[in-house]
């Protein structure tokens, strides 16, 4: 590539990481961000204060030497801590040991770390510059300063949209040439609440876990933060057939929220002292899946992360997938001769994988809210561990393929589907691991799962 200049729209997680990756390779990078500099005025970001960092995201951070500072503040989550209605709790490990865990990281801190690295590497960051629209024929984009309304026109060589699910760059691309956009919204929404530190300054509940209160048709979760708080997220249907099933239609007031917690989450209630205030302040958030037919406009614009493929949060892979996008696109920009080919190769490589993790994220909601307290589910998880030991490199649990490995998401999905059938057949009519016909399960594994290194991506 001779002309190594790019303009990034959005300085959130994906935009900042991508700027860092390219600037470190000597590209001239300009980043335009609607909000102010979080390092000056504190992080103004919206929702989801903490995020789960997994192997894919961590590997991407390593490419920018950002893993050190990030991991210093990350909180290890060993597994799911399931809170039953009767008060019993149970830790379900994510992996085999502490080498297979995920990490709770603070969005604001992570963003600041990445912005610092990008800037040190030479990226120019322009805050208070919200993307308005672009003249794609003249290669000029316009940005508005939200403080005084001033609009500035800035030429570009190519635009990279890292401006999230509500991407304005995507809207401009779509107005110029339809991108084939489709959004599907789940009939459930979420509400964020907070567990503050304990009076003595420590965590109020086990810090090294992702807490889940599964209730069949809905659930609560809580993720730890470095500052000893937990962010609690309640997921509920928007509507419900009757008043016996809670929904955002019949749990509206703070008092109704308290009554719901008293009945369904009694052990969580005393941990959330400002329940009523949190409830009144935070509007319910939507849960959507965004798919596009086209992620790029020839050599002039391309979308990454949520701007291209926003997903529901239930696999904790939105950020991880966005970071994988950044690494992939940066690598192709180094390897290809022109921007258009790099964008096209990026899109065709990443689209099936984004689509696969979007589906798996939807499926995981059901698993979290409905299945983690189901004996059949637990039996299948136990069998997964056994089959993994007996068939290393061949049978790898679904969660591990997605979370602890970097194989393409589409390949993980395809293998998971085969494995699910094997697990279901082996556990049908069986109550305990000792009753499973392991020889039959072994035969099924050997017949239908090629060793992973030989497995061609679908």
């Amino acid at each position: 590539m001779t002309d190594r200049r790019l303009t990034i729209v959005g300085a959130g997680l994906a935009g900042a990481l991508f700027a860092a990756l390219l600037a470190r390779k000597g590209w001239q990078v300009d980043v335009f961000e609607k909000r102010g500099d979080p390092r000056v005025k504190g992080y103004e970001g919206g929702r989801s204060i903490n995020l789960a960092l997994a192997e894919r995201g961590l590997h991407a951070l390593k490419q920018a030497d950002a893993d050190g500072p990030v991991m210093a503040q990350a909180v290890m989550m060993r597994g799911r801590m399931v809170h039953f209605l009767d008060g019993r709790v149970e830790l379900q490990r994510y992996g085999r040991d502490d080498s297979e865990v995920i990490w709770s990281v603070h969005r604001g801190d992570l963003n600041i770390t990445l912005l610092d690295i990008a800037e040190r590497a030479g990226a120019r960051l322009h805050f208070h510059r919200g993307f308005v629209d672009a003249d794609f024929d003249g290669c000029v984009a316009r940005y508005r300063d939200g403080r005084d309304g001033h609009v500035e026109a800035v030429p570009f060589v190519a635009l990279v949209g890292a401006d999230g699910a509500g991407s304005q760059l995507r809207a401009a691309m779509d107005a110029y040439r339809p991108v084939g956009e489709r959004s599907e919204f789940l009939d459930h929404s979420y509400k964020e609440l907070e567990i503050p530190p304990a009076p003595g300054g420590g965590f109020r509940i086990e810090p090294n876990a992702l807490h889940i209160w599964p209730r069949g048709r809905y659930m609560c979760i809580a993720l730890p933060n470095d500052e000893k708080t937990f962010t609690v997220t309640l997921f509920l249907p928007n509507e419900s057939p009757g008043d016996d099933v809670p929904s955002f239609a019949n749990v509206r007031s703070p008092a109704e929220a308290r009554a719901l917690f008293e009945r369904d989450f009694p052990d969580a209630l005393p941990l959330i002292p400002a329940l009523e205030q949190d409830w009144a302040r935070n509007p319910p958030g939507l849960l959507g899946t965004l798919t596009l037919e086209r992620w790029h406009l020839d050599r002039r614009a391309v979308l990454v992360g949520d701007a291209a493929h926003a997903m529901v949060p239930f696999h904790g892979q939105g950020m991880n997938c966005a970071f994988e996008d950044c690494v992939d696109l940066a690598r192709r920009l180094q390897g290809e001769d022109d921007l258009g080919s790099a964008f096209a190769a990026f899109e065709s490589a990443r689209k099936p994988n984004a689509s696969a993790i979007q589906r798996m994220a939807l499926d995981n909601y059901l698993e979290m809210r409905d299945r983690v307290d189901d004996p059949d589910f637990l039996l299948q998880r136990a069998l997964e561990q056994v089959l993994q030991e007996r068939h290393p490199g061949r049978f790898i649990p679904h969660y591990a393929m997605v979370t602890f490995m970097r194989i393409p998401y589409a390949l993980a999905l395809a293998r998971s589907e085969i494995q699910r059938v094997i697990l279901e057949e082996a556990t049908e009519g069986v109550a305990a691991l000792s009753e499973v016909d392991l020889a039959a399960a072994d035969a099924a594994v050997l017949e239908s799962l090629p060793p992973l290194q030989d497995a061609a991506p679908p």
Copy 2:
């Protein structure tokens, strides 16, 4: 099966067909329907006055000897009549000739035909009996008469839910044991309008076609009715980034609707004289995809059609798929020894297929609104026809596999994905059919598509 008794909830299309199929095999069938008898007071049904009947649905009607009366009133649709913005129209055939067409049928007439057949075969139809809830332990269901509010308790052996996307039986099953329900709503909705007959009593536009006005981000369609009218459906985004893209947020009043038609559908506007009245009367309809983890509750209840897997209407397969469900379930009830095994076998056979047509229906929206006026698309359609001729039984166009055949939807989807890659690669950088490297395309077909009779369902 020794105890051949079943209760069907819902006497719509699926419920009536299923009742007919079982009653004709000697089962004792009771059908409970919330609405009144359409044969007495006229059809009170809600939306989508006409529907596209394809091979799968037609085959199912034949199993109940319902095809004769239905086809007598059906209107043949040979293809898509595409209306360009400049007034040009173009017929794009669905298949090779008039043996490969679909049929526009009137929902009310079809329903009445099926109810007559079911009743003649011995099914007992109970109208004005809306399902309220069920005591699954005691095997008693309750129904309410909407006219006087009277509630009646009726024992059942097993319940079959054919009560549509908003199924009350599903809600009752879910309350008893979660069914793992998920609904995803598209960010587009629809509005129905009508083209009346011409002053002389004939059709105002070509009757033997499905008319489409594709406009990239949105579209209008029109399907013919036997009584010389057309039902027009406008699909628009719910929201739009700016006022230059129409949406239900900025096209609200009848006057705004007229302005939209003046600008974007000028040739359709004079055909819809009551545009303002239709607009004001019909609320926008939602477009959703419903998926369940479980379709049945052991031997006591099972769901079919929209109640189990409602889909968006863009492939015109919702009714066809529901009818295929009915035939499959009826066959298994004959073959299996107990209801529970029949329900389980039905669910595991049909679920992957329902899931496949749900995805294809979503994808087809984009094709209809955005791609039918795209030269690349038309080139790929032309190439499909050539490859079909050169590789009979091996390369079959996507639309044909779904519409003119009865191979499992999941198999059609898997083969379509392979074919799509072949078509894209063969037409990349090519402007006309004569420039396509047919030898390379042939090789790709032979390598990656087994003959259909040998193809194992995925």
